[in-house]
Structures are given as C-alpha cells and as structure tokens.
C-alpha cells in the first residue's frame, strides 16, 4: 500500500499543528463558533446530537493492521470503545472531546492517517472497489489511481471552496463494487483502442434529495490524461455550480440543468485548453512511483485447490454456508478474498468494538499480508487469505463474533446512524435494521431468500444509500412520528437503478411486516435461479404494491 514520504508526513503534521492551534484559539475565545466551524469541518469534526463526531479518512478503504490497531486504540482511549464504518469506506467516532481531537489526529498521523477533507465543500475520500488489486474479474488496480486522485485533491487550492461536497469513486472491474454510477464522478477502468487501460468517466450521479444516475461524459480517457480531465470537470463545476441554494449545489444538478451534451462540451472545451500544458498534471514518473506502491505481495506458490478446504466444506455445514457468502474469487491461485460481516444478527450495522478491530488486525497478519479493506456496505475484507486457511480463519472469526454468514443476504443491511446519532435525521434507522435482522435471523431462511440488499436512511440525505437498495427504506417524520417509506428495485452496481416508491409510508411497528410481505411476494413469484432483483425486474412493482396495500 502507499507509504507516506517526507512530504506527506510534513503535510499531515503541519495540518495537525494547525488544527491544534485552531482548537486552542477556539477554547480561549479568539475564534467564534462561526469562524471555527468551517475549520473543524475541513478536519472531519462534526457536532452531532449527543457529542462531537470525528470522521477519519480511510483512503479508498485500504488499511494496514497497524492502522487498524491504532483505530482500536483511539476508540478505547478517546471514545467509548467502538467505531462505525461508513458507506464511504471511512470510520466515525461518536464521542470525542474537542480538546482531545488534536491528540487523536497526532496519533493518527503517526500511522499515516488523517481526517482531512472528510467534510466540507471539497473533494472527499475517493472510494474504490474493496476487492481492488485482488479481484479475479479486475481489469486494472483502481488503488493506483485512487491514490493519485487523493494526492491531487488534498489541499488543492483551486477546489477547496466548491459549491458543495464532491465525491469520486473508481472501479477497476466490470462488476461494480464501488457504486460509480451514483457518485459526482465515477471512474470505470476500460481498455482503449490499443488495449491500454483508461477510464470511462461518469459525471453527475448521486443520491440524497434528488437521486440521479451519472452520465457517461467520456467513453475512454487515457490514463496520463486523468488529472487534467478531472481538473476540467471540477473547473466547470466550480465556475457554474449553484451557490445560491444548498439543495441545488451538487454537480448532478448542474449536469441535469445544463444538459449532458452541453455539459460535456464545456468539459471537453476546458480540457482541450489545458491538455497542452507543461508540465502535465500527471507526470509519467509520478504514475510509476505510485504504481510501484501497489505491487502484489509475495504470494506463495499454492495449488489452485486445497484438499483440506474441500473436505471441511463437506464435513461442516456451518463453514460451507459461511464460505458461500463470505468468500470471493482471488486472481492468485490458491488464495481467496474474505468479507467479514459487521452485521451480527440484531447488531448495529457497521459498528466494530476496539476488541473486534484488534482481532481483525491480528487475523489480517496471520491469514494474509497485514492488509484490510473497508467496503461501502459497511463490512471489512481480508484480501489475501490462502484457501487452505479458510477453515481456521472462520473458526477464529466465530470466536470473535465476526463469523455471521450473511454477507449479501437480507440481514447484511446498510444503515446510516439515523436519529439516534445524527443532527440531520428525521427518524431512527438502526433499530429498524436490528428488527429486520432479528426477524430474518434464521440463516437457512436467509440463504434460501438469497441475495437481497436492504438499505436504510434516516433522512432524505440518503447516507444509507436507500435509493440503490433492492429494498430501500427511508425514515420520515409525519407529524412528529417516525414513518418509513419503501422503495424497491434499486441497484448500485453497473446495472444501476434508482428504487421506485411503492406507496404510503409505514409506521415503525409495521415496517418490518412490510419487508416480510415484500420478501414473501418475491418468493412466491421467483423463477429458477432468480435473485430478488431479477424477479422484481421481471414482474415489476405492481405485485408488491398489491401485496402491501391491497387491490385499489
């Protein structure tokens, strides 16, 4: 993974010192809250319902075991013993004291981490496929470019005061595990006419109040032109994006109001005027330097299959069931990609205790090369597990309470913090996730239902990604009472679709029954081998509406 050089260390250290001084001045009264607020937001520090909340960046979701242990230490020392992994591959702490935050940032800097630009109207954490570098279906490793974009966007003087936040996601595989179609800029790696890797550039996707699928603005962009092109897009947005209305300030609104053709023309015009600049935005030497950080680890020469593993599969049903959901194919023979569920039955989706973080750090070293990934679906990944060690890993995960065999199933729910924690929320989301999880606790039942992505947001800002949930749930406030609106058929992958609202919202006591009804309708109608999403796409919303609301 990328290791800081002297320049990076200095940048982060200076940022910590700067923030420490800003906190001291705030506490002493030299800065008002109005002056301090934008400064603390640029360092990821929010004020939420009960306390401050610190959002720490996990660049493109990649962590070393050392970094994970430091995150555990911070949870234990400065917080209430846990952290929350988010839908942008970051981690959030819910209870830091203001005056401890500079110390927290200093301890993070020691392990090459920071909270820079995890809030504010700037370019946020670039997210990527959590299987980057190891996926069997990968065309090129998106981590290389995610790191390039990260360095380019950090403290970029021209883009520090954008009309609104800006989110970039990148996938190196045709199976999109990074939701690139619903980001401000999505990048999909593709082969050019000469077979060389490049990017399909998608602009103007997003969720929130006005969800939109992104538009392909450039079908193929050669790698060396990446940063120049991104600058062109950001310049057009910076100049023309609305600053008069908070709810119309994202680039998706600009693309929508300008029209895809005209927007593309503006970008290409800006790009053409920049393309001959010297030196180029992405020098070849820099590309090579960063690519060198992502060389494959020293894989052992392992046979493609493991007799011990195959035997365990036949002898241990619980293990086999876990493998079915947690294990994905690795590009290196004899290795596997393991997804660790942070969705224990009845638990809080995406939360991990300090003990669990330490356990995952240990396991990443024992069964891998000390690397961990965070997914945007709030789970963790061990990217390089020898297939012969899967059984031992599973046993260790079970002991640590991290062995739930539900990845991708109905209880693998994405939920935002909701009204239990968030200032913006209208309704609670976590208790609904817990109830659904408990209602569907039976693993046999979950496996029979198959792939089903439930995503819950506590407000219109859609941090729970409900628009792209197979079943999406949006918490709303109806005359002071929490109600829940259901959308169906959303999809965050390469076949991206926004969910369709099925009807009036359900009371808190009824929403889980509604989910049961939706599942039952699917099961009754499904064809051979059809997932929920397949059945929904075949039969449409009508049978679900009828089941939920009766014949109208």
């Amino acid at each position: 993974m990328y290791r800081y050089d002297a320049f990076d260390h200095t940048l982060v250290a200076e940022r910590v010192a700067q923030f420490r001084d800003q906190v001291n001045r705030r506490v002493a009264g030299a800065l008002t809250e109005d002056e301090f607020k934008p400064l603390r937001l640029m360092n990821g520090l929010y004020l939420q319902l009960h306390a401050y909340m610190l959002r720490v960046a996990i660049p493109y979701g990649v962590l070393s075991a050392t970094q994970m242990r430091r995150l555990a230490h911070i949870a234990r020392t400065y917080d209430k013993g846990y952290g929350h992994f988010t839908t942008r591959q970051n981690i959030q702490y819910n209870w830091p004291d203001l005056e401890d935050v500079p110390d927290i940032l200093e301890e993070l800097a020691e392990v090459e981490m920071h909270a820079i630009q995890t809030s504010g109207n700037c370019i946020r954490n670039v997210t990527a496929d959590p299987f980057a570098g190891v996926a069997a279906d990968e065309f090129d490793d998106p981590r290389v470019y995610a790191e390039i974009i990260r360095q380019w966007s950090t403290l970029h003087p021209e883009f520090s005061f954008l009309p609104r936040k800006f989110k970039i996601a990148i996938t190196g595989a045709p199976n999109d595990r990074a939701a690139v179609m619903v980001h401000d800029i999505g990048l999909r790696m593709v082969a050019g006419p000469d077979g060389q890797p490049g990017f399909e550039v998608i602009v103007g996707g997003g969720q929130g109040r006005t969800p939109m699928i992104g538009h392909v603005v450039r079908g193929y962009l050669p790698v060396p032109q990446l940063l120049t092109y991104l600058e062109a897009v950001l310049r057009v947005y910076n100049q023309l994006g609305r600053r008069d209305n908070l709810y119309k300030a994202r680039i998706k609104i600009l693309v929508h109001e300008t029209g895809k053709e005209e927007f593309t023309r503006l970008v290409e015009q800006e790009f053409a005027s920049m393309a001959s600049e010297n030196p180029p935005a992405l020098p070849g030497g820099e590309l090579a330097r960063i690519r060198a950080c992502f060389q494959p680890p020293a894989y052992a020469d392992l046979p493609a299959s493991s007799p011990e593993h195959d035997l365990a599969l036949t002898q241990n049903r619980a293990f086999a069931r876990w493998v079915k959901t947690a294990v994905a194919q690795h590009k290196q023979a004899g290795y596997a990609i393991v997804t660790i569920s942070l969705k224990p039955i009845g638990g809080i989706p995406g939360d991990a205790s300090a003990e669990e973080m330490d356990a995952v750090a240990d396991l990443s070293e024992r069964y891998g090369f000390g690397e961990i990934r965070v997914t945007h679906e709030q789970n963790l990944v061990l990217p390089d597990v020898p297939r012969k060690d899967l059984f031992a890993l599973w046993q260790a995960l079970e002991t640590a309470g991290l062995g739930t065999a539900n990845v991708g199933l109905v209880s693998d729910i994405i939920a935002c913090p909701g009204l239990d924690y968030c200032n913006l929320a209208n309704a609670r989301s976590i208790p609904i996730a817990q109830e659904i999880s408990e209602r569907f606790a039976d693993l046999d039942r979950q496996h029979d239902i198959g792939e089903l992505k439930v995503k819950i947001s506590g407000c219109i800002n859609a941090c729970g990604h409900h628009h792209v949930g197979h079943i999406g749930i949006l918490g709303v406030d109806r005359k002071g009472v929490e109600y829940y609106q259901v959308t169906l058929g959303g999809d965050g992958t390469q076949s991206a679709t926004l969910g369709e609202i099925v009807g009036p919202s359900f009371a808190g006591g009824e929403i889980v029954n509604a989910v049961e009804t939706v599942v039952a309708t699917y099961l009754a109608a499904r064809g051979e081998g059809e997932r929920f999403l397949d059945t929904y796409r075949r039969i449409g919303a009508a049978p679900f509406k009828e089941a939920l609301y009766g014949t109208r």
Binding site: R26, V27, A28, G29, E33, L47, Q48, L49, H50, A51, Y52, K80, D97, L98, E99, I348, L419, D420, Y421, A425, A427, R428, I430, P431, Q434, D477, G480, V481, E482
Partner: protein, 105 residues
C-alpha cells in the same frame, strides 16, 4: 396541541454534550434541571443568557424546544429532543437518566 412550555438547550463546547439552561443560569446535563418557561418574554431572557454563555465559550448553538410540564415531570414533545435527553436508543449503555428529579451539582 402545541406546547407553550419551552426549555433552552445547547451543546457543551468542550465535549459536545447535551446541556440545558437552569433557572440559576448554569448548564446542566439533566433535562429535569432545565428552566421551563412560558411566553416569549421569559424565553427571550433565557436565550440572552444562553448567548452570554456562548460568548463565554461554555456552549454552542443554543435554541429552545417545546416540552410538556406536569405532575409526571418534564417531557420533550419532539422525538429528536427525547433522544437528545435520553441518549441513543440503540446504546442503552450510554443512556442518560431522564426519569430522575433534578439533582443539584
């Protein structure tokens, strides 16, 4: 029915904790200790006091919210304020005692 009783709340600057303005002009983390006022004039006095606390760097972002006040104590009418007073419903280990009478600190 809209409540005419209100309490002033804020977040403590140093740790972001939820606090309520008391009749003595101090900030308590107990809802039961919050001064309950009726009418705009009394509220204006409290809010002015709150702004002085902001200037003194004790709290940030003060505002008033409606409560019912009766024999069974003081209760926020809004879900958001109920959760702010009691703590996150999904972490009972972080719950704050709301049923107790005001304890002087």
């Amino acid at each position: 029915m809209a409540s005419s009783h209100r309490i002033v709340t804020a977040n403590r600057l140093r740790d972001g904790a939820v606090v309520y303005l008391t009749a003595e002009g101090r900030w308590s983390d107990m809802l039961a200790c919050g001064a309950v006022v009726e009418g705009e004039a009394a509220l204006a006095v409290l809010l002015a006091q709150a702004e002085r606390s902001v200037a003194d760097r004790l709290v940030v972002a003060p505002y008033a919210f409606p409560v019912t006040s009766g024999d069974d104590g003081v209760h926020p009418t809004q879900k958001r304020e109920q959760i702010r007073a009691a703590g996150p419903t999904v972490h009972p280990q972080f719950a704050r005692a709301t049923g107790l009478p005001c304890a002087t600190r």
